[in-house]
Amino acid sequence: MKKLNIVLAALLGFTAYSAQADVANAEKLAHKYSVIAKSVNPDYAGPSAADGKFFFNRKIKLANGKEMACASCHTSNPADEGKHIVTGKAIRPLSPVVNFKRFADIDKVEEQFTLHCNDIIGSDCTAAEKANYITYLLTEKTPTTKK
């Protein structure tokens, strides 16, 4: 019994740690991108959640005529579960505040950034866009719908 308690405590401690770690990871990545953005454009004032929100909901016209935004799959609230518009499969929340598995692996985040930006915009997003985007994700803390 005592052993089980220790295991449970360790497990709880680990999850609490990783939950914090991934918000911290997201902040670290946002900082990295904002530093790059500033070196590219000295006028860049630093990451803006409002710009990130605009970017997230901005509909982009694709080559096939469809209009798409991040929100098309991920809903207008990144703390909510999304739905893949091609496959119809559920997508876990983007916000690292709600879904602590997000931003656990920074390499994977950067890879997915490139793939998703290529899918929608047709090229990689700028560092400023990425910094704004992550900063916006971190502000969305409450899911609107309960499933």
Binding site: C73, H84, V86, T87, K89, A104, H116, N118, D119
Partner: protein
């Protein structure tokens, strides 16, 4: 069992040939569509097709289907290593079906291929059965690249053997027929016996 009375120039049956090139197409489609979310459904369907093809091939291999039967190319890593050594020394003997090194790659391709499809299936249905997305994605990633590496080894083997035995093994997978030397035929009888 394989009939050894007739000259064995007909090696790959229609099922094996259809399976082989269908798998090439399914793998290529899945590989080409793997990066884009827009192609996700095509990717998944190509993957499932590849999985179904491999399962059918395993059933076919368990049946008495001559050179297509698993009995005709047993998994034997020691013999595979020896065969590679003989090839390097220039005294490799000829096998009508798969040579031991080729056989090893075939079994590895089946194992990696099925792992790739199974892990892809679980990645696609995230949260179902095994709720470990990171682990499954890594498994899918590495098993697929491993599979591709094995395909490269398979192609290198085919080209090497084609040059060594002055035969066109790619054409053999289309027509089903291989050029058979008397010596090879005799040894093939010993293999089967």
């Amino acid at each position: 069992m394989i009939k050894v009375e007739t000259p064995m120039n007909y090696v790959w049956d229609p099922f094996v040939r259809t399976f082989h090139w269908s798998l090439v197409i399914a793998f290529s489609v899945a590989f080409y569509t793997h990066a884009s979310e827009w192609h996700r459904l095509i990717h998944v369907r190509a993957g499932y097709a590849a999985g179904a093809l491999m399962l059918a091939r395993i059933v076919w291999g368990l049946m008495k289907t001559g050179y297509a039967s698993f009995d005709s190319f047993p998994l034997n890593p020691v013999r595979a290593a020896k065969h590679i050594f003989y090839v390097i020394n220039g005294n490799a003997r000829r096998y009508i079906g798969h040579n031991p090194a080729g056989s090893l790659v075939i079994y590895a391709m089946l194992a990696f291929g099925l792992t790739a499809v199974a892990s892809g299936w679980l990645v696609y249905n995230e949260g179902w059965l095994i709720d470990q997305p990171e682990f499954l994605q890594a498994l899918h990633h590495y098993s697929t690249w491993g599979w591709l590496l094995l395909v490269a080894m398979h192609v290198i083997g085919v080209v090497t053997e084609s040059i060594l035995h002055k035969d066109n093994l790619i054409l053999a997978m289309i027509t089903g027929c291989k050029r058979v030397s008397r010596k090879g035929e005799k040894q093939a009888r010993q293999d089967i016996a």
